[in-house]
Subunit: 311 residues, 2 copies
Amino acid sequence: MKKRIKVFAPASVTNVSCGFDILGFAIDYPGDELILQIKEEPGVVISKITGDHQRLPFDPLKNTAGVSLLSLVEHLDFKKGIEIEIHKKMALGSGLGSSAASAVASVFALNEILGKPLSKDELLPFALEGEKLTCGGSPHADNVSACLMGGFVIVRSLSPMDVINIRTPKNLYCTIVHPHLEINTADTRKILRKQILLADAVKQWGNVAGLVAGLTSGDYDLISRSLQDVIVEPIRSILIPGFHEIKNAAIDSGALGCSISGSGPSIFAFSKSKAIADKVGSAMMKALSTIEVEGDLYISKINQQGPRVME
Amino acid sequence: MKKRIKVFAPASVTNVSCGFDILGFAIDYPGDELILQIKEEPGVVISKITGDHQRLPFDPLKNTAGVSLLSLVEHLDFKKGIEIEIHKKMALGSGLGSSAASAVASVFALNEILGKPLSKDELLPFALEGEKLTCGGSPHADNVSACLMGGFVIVRSLSPMDVINIRTPKNLYCTIVHPHLEINTADTRKILRKQILLADAVKQWGNVAGLVAGLTSGDYDLISRSLQDVIVEPIRSILIPGFHEIKNAAIDSGALGCSISGSGPSIFAFSKSKAIADKVGSAMMKALSTIEVEGDLYISKINQQGPRVME
């Protein structure tokens, strides 16, 4: 048996416009790296964390990667010890599934080093254990599902868990701007209304239907027409300074659509070619700079693979 | 120019489970037949109506087929006269798009006899004019769209009108039971709550996403899991005696799912073969008979053609 493995788990975009809580996808970068080593002494130890500005706990019971790993160790009745290093390659609280990536990386790494006793589907509940820490008990499975399964996913149901991978057009590119602002996930959920108008819900599921049909058939125009969120984006965008300017810049530069990634502050846009996605990225960053906020820019296809072994 | 044409326009199932107001499809039968004749004397005359138990008005301004036809006559600036006969081959108020079929038949007939000056897409607004009569001003485009376009449709948006045809699996069969009960469309809309829980809406659009993905990829299991309506069916089913018994009979006989057609009282079920659809039909009719209600049974594939010329 190998004693050491290094893995990568990708960032993910969720709450894809009209698809609040149900649509997500993985991107090629950024993502977290995790090194897992098997030790003789039992127990899970987190020996090193980088890229977190000293914000993540080393106690495995308080760390998403630790919690996920412990749940899988218990399930597999693994008797040896495990030491992990977590190298965060993306900002915490960016709306790009940072905690999900660490949780996925940890269970993926253990499963790989043990010769894949479980399938990806079977790993999902363990990766979700870590997410419970950040979400306060009821994990939203979209980031973890997208990160773990790769590709574009529908989280049709949480109980029982039902995650479906759908096809997307080959040249669909995603441009992401992460403004250096901080937003608390719990707050962004609290400001949503618990009740919504049936008429708005009908518009939303009409767009969900159109978006899924557009993605699976490769109809860019339909994707573009369907990228409308009448329920969540109008409320959450209030918390993101410059959102409308950045969105308008993306659309004016040829993006198919643009919305909030996760609960923000990251903003994503779809384009039908790399060239347009680049142009859209420049325009979004320029709009961000006019409000004197710094940010990161990522341009990626839909990542079809999910986590991967690096070494 | 031909002086006389006879056309058929199919019945349609709408509010397809989770797809309230946005999903619909045409079936092979029943449907309405309409004979249109060009006359020298200007004006639109309805000379004969059969199969309606004397319930439909002969005044073109009060008849869905008449109103639709008049709107198209005006648009095309057609100067001659038109006489139509309407032969209803399905019950009024069945939840199978009876008025939509007559409206579609009338505009389709005129467009055909004139050598197709308009495309099907372009006919849609005129067919919808008739629906305004039944729906009191705000037409629900799903029946008209499904009937006119044929196939399975997403009505993504009403304004601007955006109707999308999606692929469905080749062996998808629909079993329909029309219990001989009468339900007023206006009442069935009134009993719906104007506000719904966001959590329920998320479940619903998760199922909409799953259903569209299942239909387009031919995944019968996914179709089956997604045929769940947590918002409208629980309320409207109260108005349909025996609904739950009939639905259970369908599911127990192997149907993929079962729900209300339109606003009822018709009930439809999907199956993945003709043999199962037949078995499901027998079980549903048996369940209906136990509550001593008579009914009609229809078993059909998704009708891909929409209206057609008979003579």
